[in-house]
């Protein structure tokens, strides 16, 4: 069987599994639909959280990004895992004790204000739509490369699957499908990593092979070889950073706080029965995530080494089939500038002009072929990429539907609504959201990648401080929280909009304020949020007594 046939088999099997699970775990009440009736065990919840968190970006793009960024790639590795420590220690147990359905629920109740609730709803919906469009796009790319259907058909098939289990099962259906999707995606990520680690370093554990000696008989460490090749070809040493230290610091902090403030992650901690389980569930989630996140930098180094040794100075007429296949998609481009028929692949510091452009997103998908692994491995990787994209998309759609059905309709517009009609509205909204995100996947706004940075910055500069202050200070009042959120969001989005949309030509280190890139500005927005909230709160009335009691109440696990 060839790659396409294997991909078809793997994808069909995994989809059949998801549909089977969806039918078995239908939602019967709003409680089921929003939080799986708060009856999910911490390990299962951890696995579902991990699948929901690791998106097409983690699975398909991250290792490729690191392969090209070298040490600077650690902003994603630390940023997207360190946030779970903040979640477990600062947010999850208290939000579980609070025990309602959504993030706007907490913000609205704690700050006794409908304005706060609506600000939170708007942020939640915006962040979620941004993300979900990117997932649908990822689905389309996998389908078009491996199954030979158009990107649009791919998106429609993906929409159909998500529609089926998100609308039918709500949180309950999503939780159990996400567990299956985690298994598929981690298996698909580890199998090629282990194979390649064995081939390159003789060590079956990628995390160790990463620091191991090459098997080519040279006795050189993999990372030393990469540093040497990098310098020689003008890319700089792999283990050296190119970004400023301060910028790396701020980007990492923004991604961490953003992770802890993302509504589709937070809401998962409402689904476990007890407070201590919310804490341990965050631990399990991070353990499952770490399995992929410690493998990814190893995969990045292996791929980089394979790529540099395979294509550098190779005669163009003799390139392997994977090269030609990806060239057809336009994601690899070769231009023979000096007409010698050889591929010169060089970095900015080299005298020889570079002739090869490689899209970072193809590294993980092309890796098995570059390493010469059997075709079923490629099929498996395609199914894994789809699992990652679909599981994240489903979690985000649920945030959108619960924000509208619960926070907007039930809590703001028509409190008298029955549970049955609320569930119907939640289902219809989820359905509409699937269609809109599918549309965004087929006609992506040109700025999807940019908006993802915006989403993290927004979450870091809005939700994270508001929730943190709501738990850890009794004196924070509605005026402080609302003005803090508004100040943080406004500052962050203006800064990003200025450099990404209004003046993209100025988007270089010398123009940035204090050398902080738009990716890292969320950290300053967050600091601003804290500052404004604190100043405003100290000049306005403290919250009413029952709110202060409410805060004391959520700090203790047992109900009184």
């Amino acid at each position: 069987m060839n790659v396409q046939a294997w991909t078809f088999v793997m994808v069909a099997l995994s989809f059949a599994l998801y549909i089977g699970i969806a039918i078995w775990s239908r939602a019967r009440s709003t409680d089921d639909f929003y939080v799986a009736a708060a009856q999910v065990s911490p390990v299962v919840n951890g696995m579902a959280t991990a699948a929901g968190w690791m998106s097409a970006a983690s699975f398909i793009s991250m290792a490729g990004l690191i392969a090209f960024m070298g040490r600077d790639g650690s902003v994603y590795l630390m940023g997207w895992t360190g946030g779970y420590v903040l979640l477990a220690l600062l947010l999850a147990p208290y939000l579980r004790k609070f025990g309602k359905y959504t993030v706007p629920d907490f913000v609205g109740d704690r700050y006794y204000s409908q304005v706060a609730r609506i600000v939170a709803v708007v942020c939640a919906i915006f962040i979620s739509f941004t993300y979900v469009a990117g997932q649908m796009r990822g689905v389309g790319i996998v389908f078009s490369r491996f199954l030979g259907v158009g990107i649009n058909t791919g998106v429609v098939i993906g929409m159909g699957i998500v529609f089926f289990y998100a609308v039918l099962g709500g949180m309950k259906g999503i939780t159990y499908t996400q567990v299956a999707q985690y298994c598929v995606l981690i298996f698909a990520f580890l199998v090629p990593a282990i194979f390649i680690s064995l081939l390159l370093t003789g060590n079956p554990i990628p995390q160790l092979g990463f620091g191991g000696v090459l098997t080519d008989g040279s006795g050189v460490y993999l990372l030393d070889r990469l540093d040497g090749l990098g310098r020689e070809l003008g890319f700089g040493a792999y283990t050296d950073g190119q970004k400023g230290t301060l910028d790396v610091f701020f980007i990492t902090a923004a991604l961490m706080a953003g992770t802890a403030g993302l509504p589709h992650v937070i809401v998962r901690f409402y689904t476990v029965p007890k407070v201590w389980q919310a804490r341990s569930s965050a631990g399990w989630a991070l353990l499952f995530i770490a399995l992929l996140y410690t493998t990814a930098p190893a995969v990045a180094a292996f791929a980089r080494a394979n790529l540099l040794t395979t294509v550098s100075n190779m005669p163009y007429r003799e390139v392997p089939t994977w090269f030609t296949n990806w060239e057809a998609t336009g994601l690899i481009q070769f231009e023979d500038k000096n007409g010698d028929g050889l591929i010169q692949y060089t970095g900015p510091a080299s005298d020889i002009p570079n002739e090869l452009t490689i899209d970072r997103d193809i590294i993980v998908l092309a890796n098995p072929e570059i390493a010469g692994l059997p075709p079923w491995v490629t099929g498996l990787v395609a199914a894994g990429g789809l699992a990652a994209a679909l599981s994240t998309a489903a979690g985000l759609l649920l945030v959108i539907s619960s924000s509208i059905a619960h926070d907007l309709v039930k809590k703001t517009i028509r409190p008298s609504i029955t549970e049955k009609s609320e569930l119907l509205i939640a289902r219809v909204t989820a359905g509409v959201a699937v269609v809109i995100s599918g549309y965004l996947g087929i006609h992506p706004p040109g700025f999807v990648a940019e908006v993802v940075a915006l989403a993290f910055g927004l979450a870091a500069s809005s939700f994270f401080p508001a929730i943190l202050l709501g738990i850890f200070t009794k004196k924070m009042n509605n005026h402080g929280a609302v003005s803090g959120m508004v100040a943080g969001i406004t500052f962050t989005s203006l800064y990003i909009a200025y450099f990404k949309f209004l003046h993209p030509e100025l988007n270089t280190a010398e123009h940035w304020w204090l050398g902080v890139s738009p990716e890292g500005i969320g950290t300053i927005g967050m600091a601003l949020n804290f500052l404004v909230a604190w100043v405003v709160a100290s000049f306005t009335e403290p919250p009413p007594l029952e709110i202060q009691q409410f805060v004391e109440e959520i700090r203790v696990p047992r109900k009184s």
Binding site: G82, G211, F249, T252, G283, V556
Partner: protein, 93 residues
């Protein structure tokens, strides 16, 4: 039920744990992985430079350990101050 003094003490102990664990969290990621990465890179362990290892591997392992340590500490603290959630049917666990 608990007196408010006990609850305040429980909360203080919790804050001490959180503070200590977050200090380690900051040290391994922002400290070893970012601010001190260059000096640490002079130390080598096998094929890894130590700063690089913390930035791409070590900090993540420490994060996982930190959360499970916090879970254990808090489970004990919840029982010491008798604020843990009881099961509906039986007492404890």
């Amino acid at each position: 039920m608990q007196s408010s003094g006990d609850k305040r003490e429980y909360w203080k102990r919790n804050l001490t744990y959180v503070g200590a664990l977050l200090a380690i969290w900051f040290l391994v990621s922002f400290g070893f992985g970012i601010l001190l990465v260059e000096p640490l890179n002079r130390i080598r362990i096998g094929g890894f430079k130590l700063g690089f290892w913390f930035a791409q591997q070590g900090s993540i392992y420490v994060f996982v350990i930190l959360i499970f340590v916090y879970v254990r500490l808090m489970n004990r603290l919840d029982r010491t101050y008798d604020v843990h959630e009881r099961d509906e049917r039986e007492d404890g666990s």
